[in-house]
């Protein structure tokens, strides 16, 4: 037991979340869900601009598809109204279907592009569709770090 606490104390500080970068909404086209494609400077050292912008643009496309007011949404709306909206007990709305696609896409992007660079995208729907939260992790090599003495031993000793 003593050994493990010793190791815990040594290593607790090592892997850490450095910062979180928030990509805000872009309201220039109204209330439709769009995120700013401006590349944040904090990510400049971690990921290529084009990759990131592609991700955001693709997300914006998905959201635009979800919120598109067109033939399909009219059909869905009229059908739902005619059934006094009971139809939504059985079927998913188009928006929900697209949101599922989006979360699959984000997961895929995280796996392929962001995780290897020590970044992580959070699905905006988990943040109230306000921001794309990009968690930036400290870039630690596999050599580990020297034991840090400032670990709060209080935690391990509770």
């Amino acid at each position: 037991m003593a050994t493990e606490f010793h190791n815990l104390q040594e290593l607790r500080q090592s892997p850490s979340l450095a910062t979180k970068v928030f990509i805000q909404r872009d309201y220039s086209e109204g209330t439709v869900c769009r995120f700013q494609t401006k590349f944040p400077s904090e990510l400049a050292s971690r990921i290529e601009r084009t990759l990131f912008e592609d991700t955001v643009k693709t997300l914006n496309t998905y959201y635009a598809e979800a919120e598109k007011v067109g033939g399909q949404s009219y059909m869905e709306g009229c059908l739902a109204c005619a059934t006094a909206y009971f139809i939504f007990l059985c079927m998913e709305t188009r928006y929900e279907k697209v949101l599922k696609k989006i979360s699959g896409y984000i997961q895929e992007q995280n796996e392929k592009i962001y995780a290897p660079r020590g970044l992580l995208l959070t699905d905006p729907v988990e943040r109230g569709m306000r921001v794309i939260e990009v968690s930036v992790f400290e870039d630690r090599g596999s050599s580990g770090s020297s034991p840090s003495s400032n670990v709060s031993s209080g935690i391990s000793q509770r």
Binding site: S14, S28, E29, T31, E67, G128, R158
Partner: protein, 475 residues
């Protein structure tokens, strides 16, 4: 080291139970309303009593003398009215979840940075942001309660104590706010109610007329109280309702056709009186398109995920985890976090974080699986998820707990290599700060640790680190 041997002492709590804001939830979170619901019951009573009297006293005469379609149509209308009323009253109008602490801090930094460079003597305006929407400048205000910049058309409802997207108004008759998600139900409610009141009014009058044709007007009136005691009541209620409800329907029809909210109309935001070139940037320009967009547009799902679990052992169909879990968590810890759990969960996260970084001796933690040397990045998410919120440890848990749900849902068969969990029987943990390791252990807790300890090649480590981070993405 104590093991997390407790089975859940308390039932897992759902997010609605700790939702900030003045709302009431019923049916285990399926139904949500404002705090004051008295007027809603009055609405219900008025509708039911009036319709009931109509069906009981007027319909038999009308059905036999005119057509039986009358009660049928009346029934369908009543059914639609009640359906729309319940939909408008019980659904989430479009509440915006409050900002997570990280978001709020980031916004504060941005605001300070924006205001900072101004010279002495210059007082910056209160927190606003300007955006240009379709050529019109719109000011976004900062909400001090929700700690967000409100999206355009959103407003904070003081009765519900929440920011509501596309806020129309708070309707006491419906017992809820009217916003983006339930505006169409509200409109269809008042529209169908106006048809219903007109229908009832018309046929009650018809009934009186037909009767008076047969027996004379005066004798009809004399008979009415005795035989049809509430005809008069029906007439009175319907008369007043017709004017108010039909008027309201007309007003909202105008609002829909010009794509404005009641809030905007009252404030006169887009009227030409303010400025010459003031126009509504949200309007599609065409009345028909505006109507279709408002009534037949896509219905966005709720952002507050009220039925999701805060901390759960069993996977639940959580559709959206949301920021409010992190926010609510600061209030949560006193309610739902068993101190013991907090401590244990914390320890486990640190173990999870620590073990991948060991190079040499595997650390046997509580008799569990050995760690994986060199997998530094694997450990990153585990500790990372906890590290930022270390000062308020319990607060991190509920949010991550939700993630635990998502995680266990999404990755049921994920190869879980970081099995440094002490023992399988500890897997039914409240997820707490270890969403990553918990479901893994839950699913693969019985894997032979020996298989896992393999100072493997960098490729597999890399792959695992990716997976580790990917799992965190579910958080």
């Amino acid at each position: 080291m104590e093991t997390l041997g407790h089975k859940k002492k308390t039932t897992p709590r759902r997010k609605w139970q700790v939702f900030p804001g003045r709302n009431r939830f019923y049916c285990n979170g399926r139904v949500m309303m404002a705090r004051q619901t008295g007027v809603f019951y009055l609405t219900l009573v008025l509708i039911m009593v009036t319709s009931g009297l109509f069906f009981a006293f007027d319909c038999p005469f009308l059905a036999s003398n005119l057509t039986p379609a009358i009660p049928v149509i009346g029934g369908v209308l009543l059914f639609f009215v009640l359906g729309m009323l319940f939909r408008a009253s019980f659904s989430d109008p479009g509440f915006l979840p409050r900002a997570t602490p990280d978001e709020a801090a980031d916004l504060e930094r941005q605001i300070d940075a924006a205001n900072g460079p101004s010279g002495p003597g210059y007082r910056p305006p209160p927190r606003t942001r300007e955006v240009v929407i379709n050529g019109q400048t719109v000011k976004l205000k900062y909400c001090f309660t929700c700690k967000i910049f409100r999206p355009p058309r959103a407003s904070h409802c003081s009765l519900c104590d929440n920011c509501v997207e596309r806020f129309d108004h708070h309707c006491p008759w419906v017992g809820n706010c009217v916003g983006k998600r339930n505006y169409r139900f509200f409109y269809l409610f008042i529209l169908s109610l106006s048809f219903l009141t007109v229908f009832i009014f018309a046929f009650v009058i018809t009934h009186v007329i037909l009767r008076s044709n047969r027996t004379g007007f005066l004798s009809t009136l004399k008979d009415s109280p005795a035989r049809y005691p509430f005809t008069g009541e029906n007439v009175v209620v319907c008369f007043f309702s017709v004017w108010s409800i039909v008027g309201l329907s007309g007003f909202h029809t105008y609002l829909i056709s010009s794509n404005q909210t009641t809030n905007e109309d009252i404030k006169g935001l887009w009227s030409n009186k303010r400025a010459k070139d003031n126009y509504n940037p949200y309007s599609y320009g065409n009345i028909l398109t505006n109507c279709c967009a408002a009534l037949c547009g896509p219905l966005p799902p709720s952002l507050i995920d009220r039925r999701g679990f805060i901390q759960s052992v069993t996977p639940q169909p959580v559709s959206h985890s949301n920021g409010s879990s992190m926010y609510a968590s600061t209030q949560l810890h006193t309610h739902m976090c068993d101190q013991e759990h907090c401590i244990q969960n914390t320890k486990f996260v640190f173990q999870a974080a620590a073990t991948p970084l060991l190079h040499s001796d595997p650390v046997m933690i509580g008799g569990g699986g050995p760690p994986f040397p060199g997998k530094s990045s694997l450990g990153v998410p585990c500790a990372a998820s906890l590290a930022p919120s270390q000062p308020s440890l319990p607060s991190s848990m509920p949010g991550l707990g939700c993630a635990g749900d998502m995680l266990s849902l999404r990755d049921p068969d994920t190869h879980c290599h970081h099995h440094h969990f002490p023992s399988p029987e500890e897997t039914p943990l409240p997820p707490g700060p270890m969403p990553l390791t918990l479901p893994c252990a839950a699913h693969r807790g019985h894997m032979n640790p020996a298989q896992l300890y393999d100072p493997a090649s960098q490729d597999s480590l890399h792959e695992d680190s990716v997976r580790g981070l990917v799992k965190l993405s579910s958080v």
